[in-house]
Structures are given as C-alpha cells and as structure tokens.
Symmetry: C2
Subunit: 382 residues, 2 copies
C-alpha cells in the first residue's frame, strides 16, 4: 500500500489514464508539471499557472537549499505557502542540478560536496540531507537522491554510477518520513544500456517506492535511444504506481512516452522557450522575433484560448520581444504552458477513447510553422 | 463646447471631483494614468492594469513612432487594439522625450530633428507630425507638441522657449482633427517664473483647448517651487476643462496638486519603483531587497487587496528580487499601481465629503516604513 493514492481509469495499449491523489489534491494523468525552479514558475503568478490547467508543479532542491534555504522556507510555513501554490508539488533531489550547475563538485560514497554557483559557499548533499530538505519544503512527492550519470560514458562507468544511485535509493527510502498523501519516487538509472536499466528497475521495485521515475535521459542520447530505454524499462515497473519521465520534453516526445506508459513529465522547454520568443502552436513552432511577424494581425494560435491568443496579435508579441518588454515573456510563457496542458488533456481524452494515434497530432506538431499559411494576413504598414 | 465631455461633480476648496467622457469611456477624476511607454505598462497585462482600478493609460509618441512606428500601429487597428486596452488613452507629444532621450537633437522654429536612440536613424518631429502620429495611434487625448525647457535656465531662455511652445500650440491646434470623444490639451510652460506661466496660460486659453496641462515641472525644481507654480497657474485655467500635471509624481505631491485643482496625473514612479523592489505602503516606502525582509511573514501591506498582498509574504517578495525573478517586478508593479489607484479613490471620496485634509494620510505617507513596527514578526530561520 502506497502513501499516495493512484487509480488507473483506463488504458490504450501501454498508455494509461490515471488519477494521483496527494496531500494537496488530485492530479489527472498523464500530466505535465511546469518547473518552478526558485519557488516560482518564471514570469507567471501562481494563479496564472493554475489557470493554464496545471495541477502540479516541480520545485528544485538545489536552488531552494541555496536561496532562500530549506530551513527558511520551513520557518515560513513550507513551499506551498511560500510560493502561493495550493496544488501538489514534486521536488527533485538536487542530484542532477548539483552536478550540472555547481562548480567544484566532488562525489564519494557518502554524497556530494559542492560550492554554490551563487556565492561560492560550500554545501553537502547526501541521500539523508536531500530527503530532509524535501521534507522541510513540504513536498507531496520527493525524489530519491541519485547520481547524474554523464553521457556519453562507458558501460562500466554507467554501471558503477547506477549501482551507487541504487545504494543511495535505499538510504533515501530509509530516511523518508512516511505520512499519508506524501510519497517517495525511485529513479531508474543505467544510461542507454538495457541490462543496467533492468537491473536498476529490479533493485528499486525490490525496495518499493510510491512511484518510479526514469532518469538520466534527455542528456544528448537522442529521441530514438530514449524511446528504446523506455521500451525496455517501463514494462519492468509495477502497474499500480505512477511513472515519471524526468526532464522530457518536446511535445512529440511526450506523446511517444505516454504511448509507452509514462504518467508524469516535467521540462523547462515551454517556459524557457516562452522567455526567448519561441511559441508552440497547432501549426508548428514559431519564433516571434522573426521580422515576418511585424505586421501579422493574427493571434499566435487561433485555436488557443489563453490570454496571449485572446487579446493580442503576433505583431504585438513581436513588438514586445523587439523592445525587450517583460510582457513578451509573460504572455508567451502563459501560452506555451497552456499549449502543453492542452496536449496533456488531449492525450488523456484519447486514452479513454482508445485512439491515441490520431489524437494529439496538431498539438505535438514537431516542425516550424509554414511561413506562408492558407490564411496569409493582409496588413497595412507592412 | 469641447469635443471631450467634462462634468464637475463636487469641489473641496480648489480640489475638484470630476468625470471625463472620451470615445473609449469615462474617467473618474482626479485620476492617475499608468505609463504605457512602448504600448505596454511594463510587467503588466492590460487586464491587470484595468484590475488595479486604472481607467486611462498614457502612451509615448517618441517610443511608438520609432518602434513599431505610428503607421504600423494604425495599420494594425490603432493603439487600443494593438495593446488590448479598451479604455481611454492619452498620448504625449514626443517633445519631452525627444529632447531628453534622443542623441543629436536639433530644434528650430519648424520642429526637431533627431536620431533614434535605438538604431541611430534620423527622424523629424513638428507640431503637425506629432499631432498626425497621435491621430494614427488613435489617442483619445492628444497633447500639443512643445519644447522641453531645460532646468535651471535663465528667465530669457525660459521666455523664448515658452513662446516657441505657444506658437507650436497654435500649429498643433490647427493640425488637430476634431471629432467627438477626442480632445487636444494645451501645455502651460514658463519654468518657475510666475509672469511667464501667466502669459502661457493666457495664450493657451485664448486658443482654446479641450483641457490644459501644466508642463515642465518635476525636472529638479523641487516640490515647493512646483506647488508655487500651481498656485499661480491653475486659477488662470478655465474651470470647465480638465487639468493635467505632467510627470508628477510622488503620492504626497499628488495630494498637494489635487488640493490645488489638478485632475489628471501620470508618472513612471509606481511602475519603475516596482521593478527595482521599491514598494509604496500605508506605513511608508519599503525596499524589498533589504535583508530585514528575508524572514518577514507579513504581507507587503495588510490593508491592500492586490494579488501581491493577498497571496505572498514580504519574505517571498524579497526572495524573488534577490533571485532576479521576473515575478518580483510583476507583483510589485501591480501593488504600486493598486496603491496609487487607492490613493486617487480616497482623494475622490474626500472631495465629495469636503474633507481633503485628513483623507489620504496613510496612502500618501512620504517616509520609509519604520524598521520595527508594532506588529513585529516572529519568524523561524531568520
């Protein structure tokens, strides 16, 4: 019996339509979690994040332990209250980011010593400390502390790294304070090596977690290799627990991973793209900085009901990015998060209809929008 | 008969409670206009600006003629549609900003030649071109093109500059296309010299405008000198037309100017302050970057109902500014604009009660918030 409730409502092949119950409410799965690195989904109020349809957000242990500090957030009533987010929060363990962001990072069997990339101060992360921090933050879902395996790497190194992560997973499980509505996820590692992934999955299932993540992907191995790992890994995870593909990704990758039985996703792509003028639309990706939008009266995406598409033209969004106005990133972040939530809603409906193949086509359109569309605008002053 | 409707609903001494009717709706006066320089009130959606209580915003001719261009905005349906603002818009003439922002600016009797501070391209502004641009933008209230008199300056120079502005006011009036709900305001100049201000006011009233602005203030002369100019100028303006004090200002200056019969204000102070962590509260100004707020659980202003005060602690706002998160400027801009609108609402009510003196005390508190308040917070992790 898990401390998190997870109910399967339907399936379509390997794809699952589920419902995850946490201390801060319910998440309809498959679900996409916007990334709220420093206790804020960048350029969005918490109300706006909820208005996009997001039901759960992700917080980053590495950033929050450094600024403002886990004890500080606990003293202020926890991360939910601090960032005014009423829904569930999943926190990562800090393992991935400490190794990718912190200078002078040294790992041994106990854990990781590193310097803050903000002020150079020295810090230590171990499985026990990572779990304690996630507890102080008040996470609904905590992640095991694991080692981020470099890519590319030899099979020997991948094996050693994965086995250390499995020992850390045992320590994480032992350190985790069980209570209703709060759960701990294990993370399958093993690089692109099927036998290591199988070994890792078996170790974690033996320990027993409230959910299982597939980690160490989207690090340069390519979509095809990533999907091969999922094909080999997901069938080895228990059906009655949620599955989370960490840090992925592009809309078409999400569709492919849902088809393979993944329930939870996070990625900075919609938010980071929004801040740099890149939008996801039903006709493909577009870069609002492009001069061809200077006189384009059309909304960003005619099929979208977000504030950016309801109230403004592409010409206006282009103008905002050209003038470095904050409203550009604000509106485009909102739109991209809304687009991702619409994609997830379409996938959930498609699973219930057992029609996953046709469902999410436009919303996961992988290319650039065609430059000359069928509804080419007539604009004055262009 | 003016093309703008203006009704006086009540007075308290020289202070006036009025209602200004424009093509895009009604403005309750005295009113504060948020500044939407580049077709956006920085860090705010148009819906959010309206939600603060603002009924009219200001657009800057200088910025908009350069980016994206007046003809471009006209081709896209005008400034209201472009920036998704349904209420009235007042545009300045570009005169002040061309002289303060543009490099290589040369003025003669015809107008001003300047280079764009964005790309160095050469442009020309004359009274006729300024009025044409404001017409292309679709301004509800246009401003006469005038010369920005430097400060400090000799009485001779101030006189010559003012008289040129009065000749330009005549040309602006002649160029203005009259239509219902749209009006043109003259701008009183003359520096800090009472006789020049009187001469300027008389010239403008002789031409007849739909409203009268007092310009050339808040340029370094100090509050006392500014109020002396108002004392000498406002009584020379017709009672049945709105009066606008340009670029002012601090809450206590707004209160003093309302008491002297001013109806309209604009200033970048609430928005610019919000972006740098400065907040206006009922207990005084505070700088959210200050370390003493790191553990402060209180809302920014207990008496305020804005999203920043309803949903977040000072500690959280401090964290956002320390981490350079966009949500900090977003929330603080919203709060400061709300604070200004509450000040204006309090002033409007006070005029109707004929009790202007006591009314706006807390909302126009000029000092810093006391460091140790009566409700000093008890915080953990501090």
């Amino acid at each position: 019996m898990s401390a998190l409730g997870f109910a399967l409502l339907g399936t379509a092949g390997a794809a699952r339509r589920g419902r995850l119950h946490t201390a801060h409410g319910t998440v309809e799965t498959p679900a996409f979690m916007p990334v709220g690195t420093a206790a804020t989904v960048k350029a969005m109020t918490a109300e706006a994040v909820a208005a996009t349809g997001a039901e759960i957000v992700l917080g980053n242990t590495y950033h929050l332990m450094l600024r403002p500090g886990a004890e500080r957030i606990a003293g202020l009533g926890g991360l939910h209250k601090f960032m005014n987010w009423r829904g569930p929060i999943l926190t990562d363990s800090g393992g991935f980011q400490v190794m990718s962001l912190a200078p002078l990072c040294a790992a041994d069997e106990d854990g990781v010593v590193f310097r803050s990339h903000f002020d150079g101060s020295e810090h230590r992360l171990t499985p026990e400390r990572s779990i304690a921090i996630q507890d102080l933050l008040g996470a609904d879902i905590s992640m095991c502390f694991d080692e981020c395996t470099r890519y590319p790497v030899s099979a020997e190194e991948a094996a050693a790294s994965m086995r250390r992560s499995m020992r850390w997973a045992e320590r994480s499980r032992a350190a985790f304070r069980e209570r209703p509505g709060h759960g701990l996820f294990g993370i399958v590692q093993g690089g692109v090596h099927p036998e290591l992934r199988s070994e890792s999955a078996a170790r974690l299932v033996g320990i027993e977690f409230d959910g299982y993540a597939v980690g160490g992907l989207a690090v340069g191995e390519g979509t095809e290799a990533m999907l091969r790992v999922l094909d080999g890994t997901v069938p080895r995870l228990p059906e009655d627990r949620p599955r989370y593909l960490m840090g992925v990704g592009r809309p078409q990758e999400i569709v492919a991973a849902v088809a393979r039985g993944i329930d939870l996703f996070d990625c900075v792509l919609p938010t980071r793209s929004g801040r740099t003028g890149q939008a996801f639309t039903r006709r493909g990706r577009i870069n609002l900085r492009n001069a061809r939008f200077a006189g384009d009266e059309r909304p960003l995406d005619e099929g979208c009901g977000c504030p950016a598409c309801r109230g403004y033209s592409r010409a206006y969004l282009h103008h905002l990015f050209r003038c470095h106005e904050m409203l550009g990133p604000m509106l485009l972040t909102w739109h991209n998060l809304r687009h991702y939530q619409e994609l997830m809603a379409a996938l959930r409906e498609a699973i219930m209809r057992d029609d996953l193949g046709a469902a999410a086509g436009a919303l996961s359109c992988p290319g650039e929008e065609p430059a000359v569309g069928s509804s080419s605008p007539v604009t004055a002053g262009a």
